[in-house]
Subunit: 220 residues, 2 copies
Amino acid sequence: MKVPVVRNILESNDRIAAQNRALFSAHRILVINLMSSPGAGKTTLLERTIERLKDKYRIGVIEGDIASTYDAERIAQKGVQAVQINTDGACHLDGNMISETLAQFDLTALDLLVVENVGNLVCPAEFNVGEDMKIMILSVPEGDDKPLKYPLMFQESRVLLVNKIDLLPYVDFNLDRMRQITTGLNPHQIVFEVSCRTGEGLDAWIDWLDNEVKTRRTGP
Amino acid sequence: MKVPVVRNILESNDRIAAQNRALFSAHRILVINLMSSPGAGKTTLLERTIERLKDKYRIGVIEGDIASTYDAERIAQKGVQAVQINTDGACHLDGNMISETLAQFDLTALDLLVVENVGNLVCPAEFNVGEDMKIMILSVPEGDDKPLKYPLMFQESRVLLVNKIDLLPYVDFNLDRMRQITTGLNPHQIVFEVSCRTGEGLDAWIDWLDNEVKTRRTGP
Protein backbone atom coordinates (compact mmCIF):
# COMPACT_ATOMS: atom_id res chain seq x y z
CA MET A 1 0.00 0.00 0.00
CA LYS A 2 2.85 2.32 0.80
CA VAL A 3 4.40 2.45 -2.66
CA PRO A 4 1.37 3.78 -4.60
CA VAL A 5 0.78 6.41 -1.92
CA VAL A 6 4.36 7.59 -2.25
CA ARG A 7 4.15 7.55 -6.06
CA ASN A 8 0.97 9.65 -6.04
CA ILE A 9 2.58 12.16 -3.73
CA LEU A 10 5.65 12.43 -5.96
CA GLU A 11 3.60 12.78 -9.17
CA SER A 12 1.35 15.42 -7.67
CA ASN A 13 4.44 17.23 -6.42
CA ASP A 14 6.05 17.17 -9.86
CA ARG A 15 2.99 18.88 -11.39
CA ILE A 16 3.17 21.74 -8.90
CA ALA A 17 6.95 21.97 -9.27
CA ALA A 18 6.51 22.31 -13.05
CA GLN A 19 4.13 25.23 -12.52
CA ASN A 20 6.66 26.90 -10.23
CA ARG A 21 9.40 26.30 -12.79
CA ALA A 22 7.36 27.90 -15.60
CA LEU A 23 6.80 30.96 -13.40
CA PHE A 24 10.50 31.28 -12.53
CA SER A 25 11.44 30.80 -16.17
CA ALA A 26 9.05 33.52 -17.35
CA HIS A 27 10.79 35.91 -14.96
CA ARG A 28 14.31 34.67 -15.83
CA ILE A 29 15.05 33.91 -12.18
CA LEU A 30 17.76 31.36 -11.44
CA VAL A 31 16.41 29.07 -8.72
CA ILE A 32 18.62 26.84 -6.60
CA ASN A 33 17.49 24.07 -4.26
CA LEU A 34 20.25 23.92 -1.62
CA MET A 35 20.51 20.70 0.36
CA SER A 36 22.77 19.03 2.94
CA SER A 37 22.89 17.28 6.29
CA PRO A 38 22.03 19.38 9.34
CA GLY A 39 24.93 21.67 10.16
CA ALA A 40 26.93 21.22 6.94
CA GLY A 41 26.89 24.99 6.40
CA LYS A 42 23.98 25.88 4.09
CA THR A 43 23.09 29.12 5.83
CA THR A 44 26.71 30.18 6.25
CA LEU A 45 27.38 29.53 2.55
CA LEU A 46 24.37 31.68 1.76
CA GLU A 47 25.63 34.48 3.99
CA ARG A 48 29.03 34.46 2.26
CA THR A 49 27.37 34.27 -1.18
CA ILE A 50 24.94 37.11 -0.51
CA GLU A 51 27.73 39.35 0.79
CA ARG A 52 29.56 38.96 -2.50
CA LEU A 53 26.68 39.10 -4.97
CA LYS A 54 23.98 41.27 -3.47
CA ASP A 55 25.23 44.51 -5.05
CA LYS A 56 25.14 42.85 -8.45
CA TYR A 57 21.95 40.77 -8.33
CA ARG A 58 18.58 40.90 -6.60
CA ILE A 59 18.53 37.87 -4.30
CA GLY A 60 15.70 36.17 -2.39
CA VAL A 61 15.87 33.24 0.01
CA ILE A 62 13.29 30.71 1.20
CA GLU A 63 14.38 29.01 4.41
CA GLY A 64 12.99 25.57 5.22
CA ASP A 65 13.16 24.25 8.78
CA ILE A 66 11.10 21.94 10.96
CA ALA A 67 10.87 24.71 13.54
CA SER A 68 12.31 28.16 14.38
CA THR A 69 12.92 31.30 12.30
CA TYR A 70 16.58 31.47 13.20
CA ASP A 71 17.94 30.97 9.66
CA ALA A 72 15.61 33.48 7.98
CA GLU A 73 16.67 36.05 10.59
CA ARG A 74 20.34 35.41 9.82
CA ILE A 75 19.71 35.88 6.09
CA ALA A 76 17.54 38.99 6.54
CA GLN A 77 20.43 40.60 8.41
CA LYS A 78 22.38 40.40 5.16
CA GLY A 79 19.89 42.81 3.58
CA VAL A 80 17.99 40.47 1.25
CA GLN A 81 14.42 39.21 1.47
CA ALA A 82 14.11 35.94 3.40
CA VAL A 83 10.92 33.98 4.04
CA GLN A 84 10.84 31.13 6.54
CA ILE A 85 8.82 27.97 5.98
CA ASN A 86 8.28 25.83 9.09
CA THR A 87 7.44 22.33 7.93
CA ASP A 88 6.13 21.33 11.37
CA GLY A 89 7.65 17.86 11.23
CA ALA A 90 8.04 17.27 7.49
CA CYS A 91 11.60 16.34 6.60
CA HIS A 92 11.76 18.15 3.22
CA LEU A 93 10.27 21.02 1.24
CA ASP A 94 7.89 20.27 -1.62
CA GLY A 95 6.52 22.14 -4.63
CA ASN A 96 3.36 23.18 -2.87
CA MET A 97 5.17 24.79 0.06
CA ILE A 98 7.22 26.85 -2.38
CA SER A 99 4.17 27.73 -4.48
CA GLU A 100 2.37 29.03 -1.38
CA THR A 101 5.38 31.11 -0.37
CA LEU A 102 5.89 32.83 -3.72
CA ALA A 103 3.15 35.39 -3.07
CA GLN A 104 5.54 36.94 -0.56
CA PHE A 105 8.06 37.80 -3.30
CA ASP A 106 7.92 40.28 -6.17
CA LEU A 107 9.12 37.96 -8.93
CA THR A 108 9.73 40.88 -11.28
CA ALA A 109 12.39 42.07 -8.84
CA LEU A 110 14.45 38.90 -8.43
CA ASP A 111 17.48 37.52 -10.27
CA LEU A 112 18.39 34.68 -7.93
CA LEU A 113 16.17 32.70 -5.57
CA VAL A 114 17.76 30.18 -3.22
CA VAL A 115 15.60 27.60 -1.48
CA GLU A 116 17.43 26.31 1.57
CA ASN A 117 15.92 22.90 2.22
CA VAL A 118 15.51 21.09 5.55
CA GLY A 119 18.81 19.60 6.71
CA ASN A 120 18.50 16.01 5.51
CA LEU A 121 20.53 13.92 3.04
CA VAL A 122 17.58 11.71 2.10
CA CYS A 123 14.09 12.97 1.25
CA PRO A 124 14.83 16.47 -0.12
CA ALA A 125 16.52 14.80 -3.11
CA GLU A 126 13.21 13.16 -4.08
CA PHE A 127 11.05 16.29 -4.17
CA ASN A 128 11.45 18.89 -6.89
CA VAL A 129 10.33 22.37 -5.93
CA GLY A 130 10.65 23.92 -9.40
CA GLU A 131 14.36 24.66 -9.16
CA ASP A 132 16.78 25.00 -12.07
CA MET A 133 19.27 22.88 -10.21
CA LYS A 134 19.92 21.09 -6.96
CA ILE A 135 23.14 22.02 -5.20
CA MET A 136 24.43 20.08 -2.21
CA ILE A 137 26.98 20.60 0.52
CA LEU A 138 29.00 17.82 2.12
CA SER A 139 31.03 19.00 5.10
CA VAL A 140 34.36 17.37 5.82
CA PRO A 141 33.55 16.20 9.39
CA GLU A 142 30.68 14.08 8.01
CA GLY A 143 33.18 11.69 6.42
CA ASP A 144 34.17 10.67 2.92
CA ASP A 145 31.86 7.63 2.94
CA LYS A 146 28.63 9.64 2.75
CA PRO A 147 28.15 9.30 -1.05
CA LEU A 148 28.09 5.50 -0.58
CA LYS A 149 25.32 5.74 1.95
CA TYR A 150 23.16 8.55 0.53
CA PRO A 151 23.70 8.09 -3.22
CA LEU A 152 20.53 9.76 -4.56
CA MET A 153 21.43 13.19 -3.19
CA PHE A 154 24.82 13.00 -4.91
CA GLN A 155 23.26 11.77 -8.16
CA GLU A 156 20.67 14.55 -8.24
CA SER A 157 22.96 17.47 -7.41
CA ARG A 158 24.56 19.34 -10.28
CA VAL A 159 27.03 20.97 -7.90
CA LEU A 160 28.75 19.52 -4.84
CA LEU A 161 30.33 21.97 -2.41
CA VAL A 162 32.78 20.26 -0.08
CA ASN A 163 32.69 22.62 2.90
CA LYS A 164 34.78 23.04 6.07
CA ILE A 165 38.03 22.09 4.33
CA ASP A 166 39.79 24.05 7.11
CA LEU A 167 39.02 21.00 9.30
CA LEU A 168 40.81 18.53 7.00
CA PRO A 169 43.92 18.38 9.26
CA TYR A 170 41.78 17.31 12.24
CA VAL A 171 39.51 14.61 10.78
CA ASP A 172 39.83 11.46 8.66
CA PHE A 173 38.53 12.59 5.28
CA ASN A 174 40.16 11.53 2.04
CA LEU A 175 39.20 13.93 -0.76
CA ASP A 176 40.49 11.55 -3.45
CA ARG A 177 38.39 8.70 -2.09
CA MET A 178 35.30 10.91 -1.99
CA ARG A 179 35.89 12.12 -5.55
CA GLN A 180 36.28 8.56 -6.75
CA ILE A 181 32.87 7.63 -5.33
CA THR A 182 31.05 10.78 -6.46
CA THR A 183 32.50 10.59 -9.98
CA GLY A 184 31.05 7.09 -10.23
CA LEU A 185 27.64 8.32 -9.09
CA ASN A 186 27.56 11.54 -11.09
CA PRO A 187 30.37 11.97 -13.64
CA HIS A 188 29.36 15.51 -14.70
CA GLN A 189 28.97 16.94 -11.22
CA ILE A 190 30.81 20.22 -10.62
CA VAL A 191 32.80 20.17 -7.37
CA PHE A 192 34.06 23.13 -5.33
CA GLU A 193 36.21 22.68 -2.23
CA VAL A 194 35.52 25.56 0.15
CA SER A 195 35.72 26.81 3.70
CA CYS A 196 32.98 29.29 4.54
CA ARG A 197 34.89 29.97 7.75
CA THR A 198 38.21 31.01 6.19
CA GLY A 199 36.92 31.98 2.74
CA GLU A 200 39.22 29.49 1.00
CA GLY A 201 37.86 28.35 -2.36
CA LEU A 202 34.87 30.69 -2.37
CA ASP A 203 36.08 32.76 -5.34
CA ALA A 204 35.63 29.87 -7.77
CA TRP A 205 32.11 29.16 -6.46
CA ILE A 206 31.08 32.81 -6.65
CA ASP A 207 32.48 33.20 -10.20
CA TRP A 208 30.60 30.12 -11.34
CA LEU A 209 27.32 31.20 -9.74
CA ASP A 210 27.70 34.76 -11.05
CA ASN A 211 28.01 33.36 -14.55
CA GLU A 212 24.95 31.11 -14.09
CA VAL A 213 22.75 34.02 -12.96
CA LYS A 214 24.05 36.21 -15.81
CA THR A 215 23.34 33.50 -18.38
CA ARG A 216 19.83 33.08 -17.01
CA ARG A 217 19.15 36.83 -17.30
CA THR A 218 20.50 37.22 -20.81
CA GLY A 219 20.02 33.74 -22.25
CA PRO A 220 17.62 32.67 -25.00
CA MET B 1 -5.36 13.67 2.84
CA LYS B 2 -1.77 13.47 3.91
CA VAL B 3 -2.32 13.66 7.66
CA PRO B 4 -4.58 10.57 8.09
CA VAL B 5 -2.20 8.53 5.92
CA VAL B 6 0.68 9.51 8.15
CA ARG B 7 -1.35 8.83 11.31
CA ASN B 8 -2.29 5.34 10.09
CA ILE B 9 1.33 4.56 9.33
CA LEU B 10 2.43 5.72 12.79
CA GLU B 11 -0.33 3.76 14.60
CA SER B 12 0.37 0.61 12.65
CA ASN B 13 4.07 1.07 13.38
CA ASP B 14 3.43 1.45 17.11
CA ARG B 15 1.58 -1.88 17.19
CA ILE B 16 4.51 -3.72 15.64
CA ALA B 17 7.00 -1.86 17.84
CA ALA B 18 5.04 -2.97 20.91
CA GLN B 19 5.34 -6.61 19.77
CA ASN B 20 9.08 -6.18 19.33
CA ARG B 21 9.34 -4.59 22.77
CA ALA B 22 7.51 -7.48 24.43
CA LEU B 23 9.88 -9.93 22.77
CA PHE B 24 12.97 -7.99 23.88
CA SER B 25 11.58 -7.65 27.38
CA ALA B 26 10.91 -11.40 27.67
CA HIS B 27 14.57 -11.99 26.86
CA ARG B 28 15.81 -9.17 29.12
CA ILE B 29 17.67 -7.55 26.22
CA LEU B 30 18.44 -3.85 26.50
CA VAL B 31 17.57 -2.29 23.11
CA ILE B 32 18.86 1.10 22.02
CA ASN B 33 17.70 3.10 19.01
CA LEU B 34 20.76 5.20 18.07
CA MET B 35 20.10 8.28 15.96
CA SER B 36 21.96 11.32 14.57
CA SER B 37 22.69 13.37 11.47
CA PRO B 38 24.77 11.66 8.79
CA GLY B 39 28.39 11.54 9.87
CA ALA B 40 27.92 12.50 13.52
CA GLY B 41 29.71 9.33 14.58
CA LYS B 42 27.13 6.62 15.30
CA THR B 43 29.19 3.74 13.89
CA THR B 44 32.42 4.96 15.47
CA LEU B 45 30.71 5.28 18.86
CA LEU B 46 29.48 1.71 18.43
CA GLU B 47 32.98 0.50 17.57
CA ARG B 48 34.41 2.12 20.72
CA THR B 49 31.52 0.80 22.83
CA ILE B 50 31.79 -2.77 21.52
CA GLU B 51 35.56 -2.82 22.15
CA ARG B 52 34.97 -2.01 25.79
CA LEU B 53 31.90 -4.14 26.55
CA LYS B 54 32.02 -7.18 24.28
CA ASP B 55 33.88 -9.37 26.78
CA LYS B 56 31.25 -8.62 29.40
CA TYR B 57 28.00 -8.68 27.39
CA ARG B 58 26.66 -10.39 24.28
CA ILE B 59 26.05 -7.57 21.80
CA GLY B 60 24.14 -7.44 18.51
CA VAL B 61 23.80 -4.56 16.04
CA ILE B 62 21.23 -3.75 13.36
CA GLU B 63 22.58 -1.23 10.85
CA GLY B 64 20.13 0.94 8.93
CA ASP B 65 21.25 2.67 5.73
CA ILE B 66 19.63 3.75 2.48
CA ALA B 67 22.27 1.78 0.60
CA SER B 68 25.59 -0.08 1.15
CA THR B 69 26.72 -2.63 3.74
CA TYR B 70 29.71 -0.58 4.79
CA ASP B 71 28.63 0.01 8.41
CA ALA B 72 27.64 -3.61 9.11
CA GLU B 73 31.05 -4.70 7.81
CA ARG B 74 32.78 -2.25 10.15
CA ILE B 75 30.80 -3.60 13.12
CA ALA B 76 31.29 -7.26 12.18
CA GLN B 77 35.05 -6.66 12.24
CA LYS B 78 34.68 -5.95 15.95
CA GLY B 79 33.56 -9.53 16.49
CA VAL B 80 29.85 -9.07 17.19
CA GLN B 81 26.85 -10.01 15.04
CA ALA B 82 25.76 -7.19 12.72
CA VAL B 83 22.84 -7.27 10.29
CA GLN B 84 22.43 -4.58 7.63
CA ILE B 85 19.02 -3.24 6.61
CA ASN B 86 18.99 -1.29 3.35
CA THR B 87 15.91 0.91 3.38
CA ASP B 88 16.15 1.55 -0.37
CA GLY B 89 15.18 5.20 -0.09
CA ALA B 90 13.29 5.29 3.21
CA CYS B 91 14.74 7.87 5.57
CA HIS B 92 14.18 5.95 8.82
CA LEU B 93 13.82 2.46 10.28
CA ASP B 94 10.42 1.28 11.46
CA GLY B 95 9.06 -1.47 13.67
CA ASN B 96 8.37 -3.82 10.79
CA MET B 97 11.92 -3.62 9.42
CA ILE B 98 13.25 -4.57 12.86
CA SER B 99 10.67 -7.32 13.30
CA GLU B 100 11.69 -8.90 9.99
CA THR B 101 15.37 -8.73 10.92
CA LEU B 102 15.04 -10.39 14.32
CA ALA B 103 14.94 -13.90 12.83
CA GLN B 104 18.64 -13.44 12.11
CA PHE B 105 19.47 -13.18 15.82
CA ASP B 106 19.35 -15.73 18.61
CA LEU B 107 17.52 -13.62 21.19
CA THR B 108 18.39 -16.04 23.99
CA ALA B 109 22.06 -15.15 23.38
CA LEU B 110 21.88 -11.33 23.52
CA ASP B 111 22.24 -8.82 26.36
CA LEU B 112 22.41 -5.61 24.33
CA LEU B 113 20.96 -4.86 20.88
CA VAL B 114 21.79 -1.55 19.24
CA VAL B 115 19.74 -0.37 16.28
CA GLU B 116 21.74 2.20 14.35
CA ASN B 117 19.15 4.24 12.51
CA VAL B 118 19.49 6.01 9.15
CA GLY B 119 21.44 9.27 9.50
CA ASN B 120 18.66 11.84 9.80
CA LEU B 121 17.65 14.25 12.58
CA VAL B 122 13.98 14.26 11.59
CA CYS B 123 11.93 11.13 10.82
CA PRO B 124 13.70 8.49 12.92
CA ALA B 125 12.45 10.30 16.04
CA GLU B 126 8.84 9.63 14.98
CA PHE B 127 9.09 5.88 14.51
CA ASN B 128 9.47 3.55 17.49
CA VAL B 129 11.12 0.23 16.68
CA GLY B 130 10.50 -1.42 20.06
CA GLU B 131 13.52 0.07 21.79
CA ASP B 132 13.93 0.68 25.52
CA MET B 133 15.32 4.10 24.78
CA LYS B 134 16.36 6.44 22.03
CA ILE B 135 19.90 7.77 22.23
CA MET B 136 21.15 10.54 19.96
CA ILE B 137 24.48 12.00 18.95
CA LEU B 138 25.07 15.64 18.11
CA SER B 139 28.54 16.29 16.73
CA VAL B 140 30.22 19.58 17.49
CA PRO B 141 30.76 20.66 13.83
CA GLU B 142 26.98 20.59 13.27
CA GLY B 143 26.56 23.65 15.46
CA ASP B 144 24.96 24.48 18.81
CA ASP B 145 21.71 25.66 17.16
CA LYS B 146 20.57 22.20 16.08
CA PRO B 147 18.21 21.59 19.04
CA LEU B 148 16.28 24.73 18.02
CA LYS B 149 15.78 23.39 14.53
CA TYR B 150 15.20 19.68 15.13
CA PRO B 151 13.48 19.75 18.54
CA LEU B 152 11.63 16.41 18.42
CA MET B 153 14.81 14.33 18.24
CA PHE B 154 16.15 16.10 21.34
CA GLN B 155 12.83 15.70 23.16
CA GLU B 156 12.60 11.98 22.42
CA SER B 157 16.16 11.01 23.30
CA ARG B 158 16.87 9.91 26.85
CA VAL B 159 20.60 10.36 26.27
CA LEU B 160 22.46 12.98 24.24
CA LEU B 161 26.06 12.26 23.32
CA VAL B 162 27.90 15.40 22.24
CA ASN B 163 30.60 13.91 20.02
CA LYS B 164 33.79 15.24 18.39
CA ILE B 165 34.59 17.54 21.31
CA ASP B 166 38.22 17.39 20.10
CA LEU B 167 37.07 19.80 17.34
CA LEU B 168 35.78 22.45 19.80
CA PRO B 169 38.88 24.67 19.34
CA TYR B 170 38.31 24.83 15.56
CA VAL B 171 34.56 25.53 15.28
CA ASP B 172 31.99 27.90 16.75
CA PHE B 173 30.12 25.73 19.20
CA ASN B 174 29.03 26.96 22.61
CA LEU B 175 28.36 24.02 24.93
CA ASP B 176 26.59 26.24 27.47
CA ARG B 177 24.26 27.61 24.82
CA MET B 178 23.45 24.11 23.60
CA ARG B 179 22.79 22.86 27.14
CA GLN B 180 20.49 25.79 27.78
CA ILE B 181 18.36 24.88 24.75
CA THR B 182 18.36 21.12 25.34
CA THR B 183 17.50 21.52 29.03
CA GLY B 184 14.46 23.53 27.98
CA LEU B 185 13.41 20.81 25.53
CA ASN B 186 14.18 17.81 27.74
CA PRO B 187 15.05 18.63 31.36
CA HIS B 188 15.84 15.02 32.35
CA GLN B 189 18.06 14.18 29.40
CA ILE B 190 21.41 12.63 30.32
CA VAL B 191 24.31 14.30 28.49
CA PHE B 192 27.80 12.93 27.83
CA GLU B 193 30.49 14.98 26.14
CA VAL B 194 32.80 12.65 24.24
CA SER B 195 35.36 12.30 21.49
CA CYS B 196 35.31 8.90 19.84
CA ARG B 197 38.56 9.93 18.15
CA THR B 198 40.60 10.67 21.27
CA GLY B 199 38.57 8.61 23.75
CA GLU B 200 37.89 11.63 25.96
CA GLY B 201 34.70 11.28 27.99
CA LEU B 202 33.99 7.70 26.92
CA ASP B 203 34.51 6.20 30.40
CA ALA B 204 31.42 7.92 31.79
CA TRP B 205 29.30 6.76 28.85
CA ILE B 206 30.53 3.16 29.12
CA ASP B 207 29.96 3.05 32.89
CA TRP B 208 26.43 4.34 32.44
CA LEU B 209 25.61 1.87 29.64
CA ASP B 210 27.19 -1.02 31.54
CA ASN B 211 24.93 -0.27 34.47
CA GLU B 212 21.85 -0.07 32.22
CA VAL B 213 22.54 -3.48 30.65
CA LYS B 214 23.24 -4.99 34.08
CA THR B 215 20.01 -3.60 35.53
CA ARG B 216 18.08 -5.00 32.57
CA ARG B 217 19.55 -8.48 33.09
CA THR B 218 18.97 -8.60 36.83
CA GLY B 219 16.02 -6.24 37.26
CA PRO B 220 12.49 -7.17 38.26
